[in-house]
Symmetry: C2
Subunit: 293 residues, 2 copies
Amino acid sequence: MNARERWNTLIENELAAYLSDARIPRQLAEAMAYSVTAGGKRLRPRMLLAACDMLHGDVARALPLACAVEMIHTYSLIHDDLPCMDNDDYRRGKLTNHKVYGEGFAVLAGDGLLSYAVEIMLDAAIHDAADQAAYLRALDAIIKGAGVHGMVAGQACDLMNEKQPSREEKTLRYIHENKTGAMLRAAVCAGGYAAGGAETDIGALNAFGAAYGLLFQITDDILDVEGDFARMGKTIGKDAGTEKLTYVSLFGLETAREKAEAAAREAHAALAAFGERAAFFHELTDRTLTRKS
Amino acid sequence: MNARERWNTLIENELAAYLSDARIPRQLAEAMAYSVTAGGKRLRPRMLLAACDMLHGDVARALPLACAVEMIHTYSLIHDDLPCMDNDDYRRGKLTNHKVYGEGFAVLAGDGLLSYAVEIMLDAAIHDAADQAAYLRALDAIIKGAGVHGMVAGQACDLMNEKQPSREEKTLRYIHENKTGAMLRAAVCAGGYAAGGAETDIGALNAFGAAYGLLFQITDDILDVEGDFARMGKTIGKDAGTEKLTYVSLFGLETAREKAEAAAREAHAALAAFGERAAFFHELTDRTLTRKS
């Protein structure tokens, strides 16, 4: 088993252990576990562990942070899927949380995952950190990325924009930098902090995270439209003709692809100082640029 | 201005300052501030500061914890009022959050308050704690009280109990010890930790918090019924005749009153070691036992 497969196993086992805590009411734990194990690719926790490893940190000690980042990502999806938000019945081919457990439980499962994520990180910071100050900075990066100066701010702007649609790139960037980008940046920076990385390293990770987040979102917008082409046999995507603000609806497919390529170049460039140790992130960037799903 | 009035002013000013942070999207900050300033009595933050002061701690340094506890309490009310939960249109005579800002924003305002509360406490722990280890234990007590081993667990059981009503005192106690009690206990323990209190002090605060939480909930159940008597001119309360599990519906009004008195005696007894410095909590206990609102 190579290092990356080992990370995946570590993440899955640790998430399962946290969610089988018998002191959590059974139905609440079940609702939380349902969405955490609903086929996510573990992108954020793997990026966190990879950043920690790249800077010669202790991956096992960073594992609670990685699991917390995945729980926070999952809570945001559960709340985002609610009828009062995006109103989605399916995610990754499975029924969304509220379709299985009801809306009330879905709200609580999300609240529970966010609280539990903080609890897990804090427990590790108090009882198991080799360098507590560095670990607390990692925790701080994650909670700032998740909250009213990060992900929740992005979601709020996204929701406002649905009511009063804007066609400005500034708005689009703000939404994506916060709704999607903030937690991607937080994950790599937290991995760097947990490894005791210097501020210059964290700065480079932050620059990589910002560029990668943009790349991730533009390719997501492109896939949405191409998926619609394929499914509908139409020449116009669901987003292109509606008010929804995406890179494709704003710039067209060709310019969106150019912007994705520029973001990928920026992501690669941000990794320069890490040399060969950045192989994981170079490959991830290439795979994301050419991804088909 | 006496010490207690000064605490109230400190809490109000600090909450207002946090919520006027210009980096938070305007409408999100507005929705959060609406519920935080909707007439709450600041019971939990005042208890936190009083516990800190009782143990000769620095009240100003504990203020971020106090504000965080109030934000967490407010987030729980916003989510609890949602149509998929208790479906309340009014709270303390004002429209509930989702009636003013819509359900989507109410979910996000709650998520934002919980995240912001953690961010505020962590910032204080990292940058402004005289004793960081003690401050982190305070933070830990609060987040454990709020989450899947505390308040969220209690809310989940309450929701389950609405679907499959139980008539067991064990269930009633579990719901109240977690839904209401956990954050009251966490608030006084966090105040004690922030003051650098010894484990015996924290133990006494925890015992007080548990007894006071029970007293608070039983008197709440009694007021609900008496309020109904007064309003409806009926001889039966709304809870007494329905399936809702309360101390009054389970034991009747007289036994519920006896249980409240017993809880108050227990609360007073838990304060013995603090002598005259516990005046705030003795008075609070007496006022809660005889409260009319």
